[in-house]
Amino acid sequence: MSEGWLGYAQTYLWIGAVYLIVLRSYTYFRYGRRENSELARLAATLEAERKGEQKTLKSRLILLGQWLVLWMFWPVAFIGLWEIVRDLRGIRNRRHGTDEPRFACQHDDLIEQVDPLQAEQDNQVFDPLERVPQIPFGHLHSGWITLLSQLEPGDTLWRFKTPGDGEASDEPPRYAAGRRSMAGYAVVRGKKVVWEFVTERD
């Protein structure tokens, strides 16, 4: 029985050792001395303690202690692995140029396909005090013109409304409903929203 547990412990420590070596190697080659992430700062701290003025017995023992603790509890250091994954995804995105504009409107927020002329008719703004230009979408007209300029053959125009933040809060300020909901029109190309024009905003 005890031999079985010893075997598990050995396996655990071997995996931890390999994992920490990979993690340490990655931070060394990826970041060097730059301090642009939590992981890099950790690496830099360990590096500074390793090299620094420090070459005292105390600092060496502290460093050794830190690595031992990390080794014993290496699953906790999975946060480092998560950062590596995020980092690699970021690299891939940059390589593939996927820094596309992000819109409040998601595909699920689309309500109905509309005709641009109908949308203009539906958005003539009436104001008894005449403090709005008498053109479609009033003060927001330039946003509508920009949206129309984005339309390409085959695109469709949709009315949308986003759900916002969800439920109302129990804590002050007690708004009646979730906030930051938006409504407006979106240009859809294929199944993808490629432009939006927000006509109502909370």
Partner: protein, 163 residues
């Protein structure tokens, strides 16, 4: 973020603080003739709007916009920022609840409009048209508590003033 200077609201003949930024929805699309800048950490948006409810509608009836010049700062008013509408703009882009803090300060939070006062008056609008109001009681402050919404501290940029 530092606590932010509130907007102003004229409602039923009285002036109130308004803890919302209804103008944000317009500024996404409006091309202002000048660029507004933040004069302090308490006014990142660079302006203080004055809002009025008339004929059951929400109007922007005044604004103090902060403009950084080569040597100093100056302010820009409604006529300069929105030429053609010197008497105000109908806020037809706004749908939602405006929060008007009232009473004494219950808890000060040095972030955004997060401070809590004894009461909140909520005014709901749809496309700029007033729909309903409701008053919410948040609690009772001690008699020593300061009155109303306020900003406790801010860092001013060289030459900058909130209003």
């Amino acid at each position: 973020m530092t606590a932010q200077v509130s907007e102003r609201l004229n409602y039923q003949g009285k002036k109130y603080n308004l803890c919302e930024e209804p103008l944000a929805g317009l500024l996404v699309y409006a091309r202002l003739p000048v660029t507004l800048s933040s004069p302090s950490t308490a006014l990142w948006r660079g302006y203080v709007g004055e809002w009025t409810i008339e004929a059951d509608r929400l109007y922007l009836t005044g604004i103090t916009g902060h403009v950084r010049t080569a040597e100093d700062w100056r302010t820009a008013n409604l006529a300069e920022l929105f030429p053609g509408f010197p008497n105000g703009l109908f806020a037809h882009w706004y749908t939602g609840e405006l929060r008007v803090p009232m009473g004494r300060l219950l808890s000060y939070r040095h972030a955004g409009f997060a401070s809590v006062t004894e009461f909140d008056l909520f005014l709901r609008f749809e496309r700029g048209v007033f729909k309903e109001r409701r008053m919410v009681t948040n609690g009772q402050a001690s008699a020593a508590s300061p009155a109303g919404y306020q900003v406790g501290a801010a860092t001013f940029f060289p030459g900058g003033r909130d209003e």
